[in-house]
Amino acid sequence: MYKKITISDYTRYVIIFIFVILFFFVLKLQVIEGEKYKDIAEKNIVRIQTIFPTRGEIYDRKYRPITLNKPSYNLYITPGKIVDREKVAKFVSSNFEKDISRIEKIIHDNRYRSYQDILLIQNIQFEKMVVASEQLNYFPSLLFKIEKLRDYSFANHFTGHTGRITEEEYKELRGNGYSINSNIGKTGLEKYYENILRGTNGQQVLQVDASGKNLDFFKHNLQKPPQRGADLILTIDNDLQEYVSLIFPKNYKGSIVVMDIKTGGILAYVSKPDFDPNIFTGGISTKRWNDILADPNKPMLDRIIHGTYPPGSVYKPILASLGLEEKVIDPNTKLTNCAGGMWFGNRYFKCWLEKGHGRLAVENAIKYSCDVFFYDLSTQFSLEQLNRYTKQNYISTRTGIDLPGERRGFFPSRKWYIDNYGKFVGILGHKVNLAIGQGEILVTPLQICAYYSALGNDGVWKQPHLLDKRIEVEKTYKNIVGEKQLPISEATLKLIQSSLYKTVNESYGTGTAASIGHIMVYGKTGSAENHMGKKTHSWFSGYAKCDKFEIGFDVFVENGGHGGSISAPIARKLINYYYGIME
């Protein structure tokens, strides 16, 4: 009799059918082809290998090298193949003069990475490699690889350096294609532009067994080539950088920044004392590292953006322009008579010139850098007004330069004084002190340089930067930076500019040591008292114009003495040199 097939029967047939298929393929894989797969499994034949890209190089504005890649012999260890841990560590440390405890630590930290090659030592001398190679067959866990390493052309603070990735960094970044052996930008441009410089990993599928037979799992796309990191073209001029580095007075600390006032591109970036970034590329020894850290002159400190200092008189044009903008004074207003100082309550504030300047209008007050004029002017403003206007001129606030860890500096507020000195703090005394760039105010040399460059650029403040363009594969990408307008009217700007010119070019101006015949030099001196030493910090900042080349500069010498006698002559030299090489 005909039996009706129900839905329930259909589903059961489908289920039977599905499981027969699955069973058949399990049978095929495990029983029929089992031996073949056992073989493949034992030999780890099918693997994906990562191909690391070449890091982008760094050049100056005329495509001269600043940071290149050079070949390096590196020693690796495979923890899973170590026969005798102590013997290996001893062999490595004696052959390559490394701390045995460091070698042992690397081996210990990576003991679970049995099948990975772990980087032990970078940048081994060729001769040492040859000697060690002869004994390598006693140590199957060791192998040499030729890889690329950074080579920095000169001592500086902006390129930064790369270094071996740390365990913490690796944990955070391994999803982004880093390996435990990766080098990664640690400071400076190397860190800031890490993502641009490093490039993109490539991959390669290995499917060839020991006898060289191709297993043919995959027919195509066996290689994804790595993409080289972008090359950075900086705004730095290597010639100027080298020259500026040479003219900085020996045995002094400080910095010199030179920038193109039209673009904000930095032409020279020198902080002294400096250090050679190449010391880090070979894996620095603990002793050397401790020596550098213990050096009282702090050679690692980038004084241009990581050091903050009282600006002294280079701050005065800001207060002058605030006075003019708020119409508290006009170009002809003469303030109180300078007789070498001024009383505020029961405290006498001295002018730097003991015999006094007499009564001055703003232009001459800047030219002679009269303190009393600015003491008096500051009484017309509240502390918050000063604070706000200072920051509107991008002083005591980050410039946003393309380097990591830029410091902000400091400008106190009323609340800060109350928090630190109690409710009855005399704000006036502090304010008067701030008027001449002394007291609690702290700035970075870069902020001062950017401010004076903006004065030279019709009040347009260009963001300071080091990267001019990056070259990726075949395309060039220009680094586009922001610009802002200083809170200053045209009339005020003209007046400030002319007083800066007179400071340098008229007799008895404080900056006459920077005067050069056919070049228009504008500048302001500063001699800032500080707690770091007896002598004042010596500042000279400004800008110079000749033909179409216009540069802003800041020369800062820690405890160098007077701005006019120490920093101004340095500025003169660098301007002379710059226009010499541009012609």
């Binding site: 589903t11 289920i15 499994a41 099918v46 799992f217 995959f218 195509h220």
Partner: protein
């Protein structure tokens, strides 16, 4: 609990116990003679306890309460599917909602509640064929489109399987199913004219045998021929990467760095297990971490490597008995809506088991579909066990409707 189906329940518990053991070994790593263990197996155990609680809750809740809450919950899951699209990507897709300690995929919940909602809507009396089709399609297409946007092609296919299986057991004339399925097949076969001609001839024969009106037959054939001609045009208008994505889905070997690599490693792991396996915790391929996530989607490969052919056969057997028993029992559920639900659940579980094991064996495309009851994963386990709870509930209560 007189009519409680202890066989289905017993097989379910067996599967979950196997799951715990597999997760325990899959998430361990052997280093020399030491083992490192992740606590996934403990988390899974807690999820099993929670799921069991929900299972009995489902059995105890009165049908009236479930009946009124089905559609609102369906709406909520749909809203969650929309919300998840606005959350940040995790591993390249918007599938997960993270609640601190636990992450869950709203699409898991959507599957179950789509089954319940379709069944409820099309089991109403006196519906015309058109109404049934319209309701079933609307309810399914919303989650399908949202899931495609995540993008999660595997889950989208699961919804299609659910829809098709429920329509198959509904009162809808089978002709409509041919109408639905034939265009999909036409797209698939449109790459070879000869296969397409054979297919069209078969289709014509099938329609002819169904004693249909000649006009309708003519319409279906014309529609399919039209699709045959239009598919290549569509295909050529796709962007390269879109074509690549589809081709890689069909043939993972095109992508040796992603899906293809995983499948090869899974095949090597299973194949090298041989007849007897390498032993509990001793899988070398697993220990070298060739496969990521082997405690979730690729857990079958760990079982295959460590327990070998006998282990795999045992697991296939348990799954088979489990599904077969459910398929056999569905006949006893007389109430239309509940039978639809049960068939939907059965189809969805069968599909997932087939796709996951098939993927591990390298015979079906790679999708992010886990192995029901065995893979690690809270929301997935919870939904699968709850689904079985519904079947057990209906079997339990069948006397009322018989």
């Amino acid at each position: 609990m007189k009519r409680f189906d202890w066989t289905i329940f017993g097989l379910l518990v067996t599967l979950m116990v196997i799951g715990i053991v597999s997760i325990y070994t899959a998430s361990s790593t052997r280093i020399a003679d030491d083992f490192l263990f992740n606590n996934y197996y403990l988390k899974q155990f807690i999820w099993i306890i929670i799921s069991m609680f929900i299972l009995f809750l489902v059995i105890k809740i009165p049908n009236a309460v479930i009946d009124v809450s089905i559609f609102p919950v369906y709406i909520i899951t749909t809203l969650l599917l929309i919300w998840v699209l606005f959350l940040p990507e995790i591993k390249g897709s918007h599938r997960w909602i993270s609640l601190g300690l636990i992450n869950f995929q709203p699409s898991e919940f959507a599957k179950l509640f789509t089954i319940l909602t379709i069944s409820k809507f099309i089991s109403k009396p006196l519906l015309s064929d058109g109404q049934i089709l319209l309701r079933a399609f609307t309810v399914t297409l919303v989650p399908i489109i949202l899931v495609m946007l995540e993008p999660d092609l595997g889950t989208a296919l699961t919804f299609l399987v659910i829809l098709f299986s429920i329509l198959l057991v509904s009162d809808l004339p089978k002709f409509y199913l041919i109408l639905i399925v034939s265009p999909i097949l036409s797209i698939t076969f449109s790459f070879s004219i000869w296969i397409f001609i054979v297919y069209i001839l078969l289709l014509t024969y099938l329609l002819y045998r169904s004693n249909l009106d000649k006009v309708i037959i003519g319409f279906v054939i014309a529609l399919n021929t039209f699709i045959f001609f239009i598919t290549p045009i569509f295909w050529n208008n796709l962007k390269d990467y879109q074509q690549n994505r589809i081709l890689t889905f069909i043939n993972p070997m095109r992508d040796p760095f992603g899906a293809g690599y995983q499948i090869i490693q899974s095949k090597i792991a299973i194949g090298s297990g041989g007849l007897l396996g390498k032993g509990f915790l001793m899988g070398t391929q697993k220990n070298m971490n060739f496969l990521p996530e082997h405690h979730t989607d690729f857990i079958f490969s760990v079982i295959g490597e460590e327990f070998g052919f006998f282990g795999c056969t045992f697991i296939l057997l348990i799954y088979f008995l489990f599904l077969y028993k459910i398929a056999k029992s569905i006949r006893k559920i007389k109430w239309k809506e509940y039978r639809f639900v049960s068939v939907g659940i059965l189809a969805y579980l069968t599909f997932q088991i087939f796709i996951n094991i098939g993927m591990n064996l390298g015979i079906v495309p790679t999708t992010g579909i886990p192995l029901p009851f065995l893979s690690y994963g809270g929301s997935n386990l919870l939904i699968n066990v709850t689904a079985i709870g519904f079947i057990l509930k209906y079997l339990n209560e069948r006397s009322i409707f018989a």
